[in-house]
């Protein structure tokens, strides 16, 4: 018996007779015998909730957590209780894509609010309804750049972007006739002098990231002008939590802003679901990937929201589409929306500031008390990179014995990075006691 299968034997019989067949098997008679599956799937039989729950609970308990200073795209932030309460509304989570606006205003309005929030944070004009994650958002952004600029075949990117983003770009573009060119870094940030050398009319855009993979903030003064002279686009990826304090993409003159909204109310969850956000200038709207919600009116003139500009999408464009995204990360984007509504304008500022204050506290304390060095002397937000006298992975392993996840050894993300770099993230959740324990533990590990 299966609690999700409502049919009684009597009903099945009656339905078969209404259809005019004798058995369910007859309904499968069109499967050619030779490829029909005759045995039983080699899986255990169905189980009761208690049994299933017991198994899952055991699996969940077979993971361990620590005081986390891990970042690199996924952070341990406070999640207000409103987020779970509202994401748990079944009207939101058990609905499909809002194809029928008359009975989908809940999801549609929430997405419209999400789009607005992303525009506000990035200081850009248009946002879509979400992409998969920050890394695939980078590839969508680069595709958008290529498709919005004439006769270009090259994407430049900074060596300081997340290594996983680079790897995703390579997968997405290696089979297309698009060249990916990496620009060098200098002292932990993009060497902006290198941009000029590589710029040409074939360049669709430049992808940079700030805070970058080391946590460093980059200075893009003049960069967008330079790119625009060549009709190239500036794409800036940012941790959106940082945007509560640092210069936004729009403020740097970027054409496209991207990033990953996991910090906004989404649990770490081993990396997913999160949301890739993308916002751009008005001009790029018609090439924007993914779904977009627009405001309109209903037959009575009442404000209403609806999926719009669908001519861009693969349902209509098919093989001429420049993006294939269909299902996105809507519920997670709703979580972001609830998060931002809850923390609000001042809350986000305060949170961003606290991240900064705490990260600076730890960094300074580490320098002073543990005698470790920063990999580069650059400004940072809530993440910084240490250049340790030993292998970062070994230090992290030693500190894990103290219940501390000390940070990300960068060579774990990109084997070409030095082995001694440890990137440390400090969110508002870390207390001064935890940070002081971190310093002690680090001192111990360095001995």
């Amino acid at each position: 018996m299966f609690p999700y299968l409502p049919h009684t034997d009597k009903e099945i019989k009656a339905m078969l007779s209404d259809i005019g067949v004798d058995s369910i098997d007859e309904l499968f008679a069109d499967i050619p015998a030779k490829i029909r599956f005759k045995g039983e799937l080699n899986l255990p039989k169905g189980q009761s909730e208690l049994e299933v729950y017991t198994r899952l609970k055991r699996l969940a308990e077979n993971n361990r957590q620590g005081v986390s200073f891990l970042g690199a795209g996924n952070y341990d932030h406070i999640i207000p209780s409103t987020v779970g309460a509202l994401m748990g509304r079944t009207e939101f989570y058990t609905s499909y894509t809002p194809y029928q606006p008359e009975i989908s205003q809940g999801v549609l309005q929430a997405i419209f609010e999400f789009q607005t929030l992303m525009c506000e944070l990035t200081s850009l004009q248009v946002s879509n309804a979400s992409l998969y994650d920050g890394h695939t958002a980078a590839s969508e952004a680069c595709a958008l750049a290529v498709n919005s600029t004439r006769k270009t075949d090259t994407i430049l990117y900074s060596s300081t972007i997340h290594p996983y983003t680079k790897q995703v770009l390579e997968t997405y573009f290696e089979d297309l006739n698009i060249k990916l060119v990496e620009l060098p870094e200098k002292a932990g940030v993009l060497d902006t002098d290198s941009v000029k050398d590589q710029l040409g009319d074939n360049v669709a855009g430049l992808l940079v990231q700030s805070p970058n993979i080391y946590g460093n903030l980059e200075d893009y003064t003049g960069l967008s002008d330079l790119l625009h002279e060549h009709k190239s686009l500036l794409i800036v990826s940012s941790n959106p939590m940082a945007l509560g304090a640092i210069k936004s993409q729009g403020e740097w003159g970027a054409d496209i802003a991207i990033g990953d909204t996991q910090p906004f109310g989404l649990p770490a969850y081993y990396g997913g679901p999160s949301v890739g956000y993308i916002a751009a200038t008005e001009k790029l709207l018609r090439k924007m990937p993914g779904r977009i919600v627009g405001q309109s009116v209903d037959e009575d003139g009442k404000r209403a929201f609806v999926l719009t500009m669908q001519a861009r999408e693969q349902h209509i464009k098919r093989e001429r589409a420049t993006s294939n995204i269909c299902s996105n990360q809507a519920l997670a984007a709703l979580g972001n929306t609830i998060y931002l509504a809850t923390v609000g304008k001042e809350g986000l500022k305060e949170l961003a500031e606290q991240n900064m204050q705490k990260a600076h506290y730890l960094a300074e304390k580490l320098k002073k008390e543990a005698g470790v060095e920063m990999a580069a002397d650059q400004p940072f937000f809530n993440e910084f990179t240490l250049a340790l006298p030993k292998k970062a992975a070994d230090i992290a392993e030693a500190m894990e014995a103290d219940g501390i996840f000390a940070g990300v050894a960068l060579n774990q993300l990109d084997a070409s990075k030095p082995e001694n770099l440890l990137t440390v993230a400090v969110t508002e959740k870390r207390t001064v006691e935890e940070m002081d324990r971190y310093v002690q533990s680090m001192k111990g590990a360095l001995k």
Binding site: T136, I246, V306, F381
Partner: protein
């Protein structure tokens, strides 16, 4: 008036200085940002984020939620979307803190539980599809399709076969299929369907040349029909040196009955948010897990989960990998739900689900075909497609009108205007979790709509009237795009 309160945007509820969240007191020196970082790096403009209380937030989104239909409220026969019931136990297990709190980069010895789940799930999905191994990383079906196409690319690259640039896609295929092939660098060639609504083997044969990379198919196809000639098609494509890609959106019809691997497919994507009961969340997140046969296993995206002795680990060392397709390892919370579902249903339950999905679809089809035109009248699998073309010609009532009338009756509409090969298509997928009385109620409503079409078509054009909003002006939305709220 209270309606005024109810229809605002969250921004329109904002009041300067209002707060909905308390940040813990800072316990380190509270320096100003400009004391830590040069001003040029700092934000210049304030955001117009809302300033609301927690009460405002809860009421705003609770009310919004009530303006949304969902599976938990009723029948949702949206074709190609498998809107089956999303079990509550899945939500419980997905909510376990032991999963939710894991950072993707924490040491693997501290994540053995989730890795075991991923391993186990991969194995079970392979069994259901008849494949050899796979990846759980794709975030949705389309992402899985892209991954599938990258398998094609990687395979031919490894073979040194650079000429295979052409992917065949049936005319009835979902839009993501050609789009995925295209963005992966393939040239898309459409294959025609025959008078039975199936891939025309004749037409297929026209395209079997040395440029052929392969074909993307779903089976049952988007008409809900099992491709009779699938074995021949597989042989033809393989013989021509091509590969076969299976779009798993329609797997719900055939679990335990017919496996893509046995049909001859080399790569299969699954929509865990369809067949495996994970909720669709108003548009996502889903999961487009991809399974492959031995031939394609060397090209898996990195990393893939493996087991050594009793230890599970993420294997990054895949020499011929297609590369990385996403930041981390996919929508893990979705995987937990799908895994929970598979344990709950077991081999007997999955098979039964497919049987009843097909029973429900055929029952509906038989009960509706008298009143609505059924272009391909044969046994269907999990879904079937009707056409409103005749109704449109006779009474001016089209697919949209039928869809909107259903909303008025408190039922979700079918998928309309897809597949493209049927005029005024209406695609119904009841799924196995609908009871007979739910279907009967739907049949009654559909008959009533058909009556109305004959007697009072204008009434249908007016519908819906009792929904939170009435028909929405899509033309204005697209012509004068308003895509965000603007502060005054």
């Amino acid at each position: 008036m209270s309606t005024q309160l109810k229809n605002k945007l969250i921004f329109e509820r904002s009041r300067e200085g209002r707060r909905g969240f308390r940040v813990p007191d800072i316990d380190v020196p509270a320096r100003k940002p400009e004391e830590m970082v040069d001003k040029k790096y700092l934000r210049v403009h304030e955001t117009a984020l809302p300033e609301v209380s927690e009460v405002d937030v809860i009421r705003h989104y609770t009310r919004l939620s009530q303006k949304n239909y969902c599976v938990d409220l009723g029948f949702y026969p949206l074709g190609s979307c498998t809107m089956k019931y999303n079990p509550k136990i899945n939500e419980v297990t997905a909510g376990l803190a032991g999963f939710a709190g894991l950072h993707p980069l924490q040491p693997q010895k501290t994540t053995q539980g989730i890795l075991e789940l991923m391993y186990d799930l991969t194995e079970r999905l392979c069994e259901v599809t008849g494949m050899s191994w796979g990846t759980l990383q794709p975030f949705a079906g389309a992402h899985g399709e892209f991954t599938g196409m990258k398998f094609f690319k990687s395979y031919f690259k490894k073979q040194g076969d650079t000429g295979r640039t052409k992917v065949l896609v049936p005319d009835g295929a979902h839009g993501t299929n050609p789009a995925s092939a295209h963005i992966s660098g393939f040239e898309v060639v459409e294959v025609k369907s025959n008078e039975k609504g199936m891939v025309s083997v004749e037409d297929l044969k026209q395209h079997l040349d040395e440029n052929l990379a392969g074909i993307m198919l779903t089976n049952p196809n988007t008409l809900g029909l099992y491709e009779e000639d699938i074995a021949e098609i597989a042989e033809l494509v393989h013989d021509a040196g091509g590969l076969l890609y299976y779009d798993g959106a329609n797997l719900n019809a055939i679990m335990g009955k017919s496996r893509p691997g046995d049909m001859g497919f080399d790569v299969v994507h699954l929509n865990l948010h369809k067949t495996f009961s994970t909720p669709h969340g108003g548009g996502g997140p889903g999961s487009g897990a991809v399974m492959v046969n031995k031939k394609l296993e060397p090209f898996l995206p990195a990393p893939t989960v493996r087991k050594k002795g009793s230890e599970y680990y993420l294997d990054h060392d895949i020499p011929d990998t297609m590369g990385r397709i996403s930041g981390f390892y996919g929508n893990i919370a979705v995987l937990v739900r799908a895994y929970t579902y598979i344990l709950t249903m077991g081999n007997d339950g999955l098979k039964r689900a497919s049987e009843l999905a097909v029973l429900n679809a055929n029952y509906l089809k038989e009960k509706l075909k008298g009143r609505y035109f059924l272009p391909y009248d044969r046994v269907c699998k999990h879904e079937f497609v009707l056409s409103a073309q005749k109704m449109k010609d006779a009474y001016g009532v089209n697919g949209t009108d039928v869809a909107k009338a259903l909303l008025e009756f408190g039922i979700h509409a079918p998928t309309v205007y897809f597949p493209l090969i049927v005029h005024e298509a209406m695609m119904f997928e009841p799924t196995e979790t609908e009871s007979r009385e739910s279907l009967d109620n739907f049949i009654e409503v559909m008959h009533e709509i058909a009556d109305l079409a004959e007697k009072d078509p204008d009434k249908l054009h007016e519908m819906p009237t009792s929904t939170p909003v009435r028909r929405v002006d899509q033309v204005q939305a697209a012509k004068h795009p308003v895509l965000r709220w603007q502060p005054e």
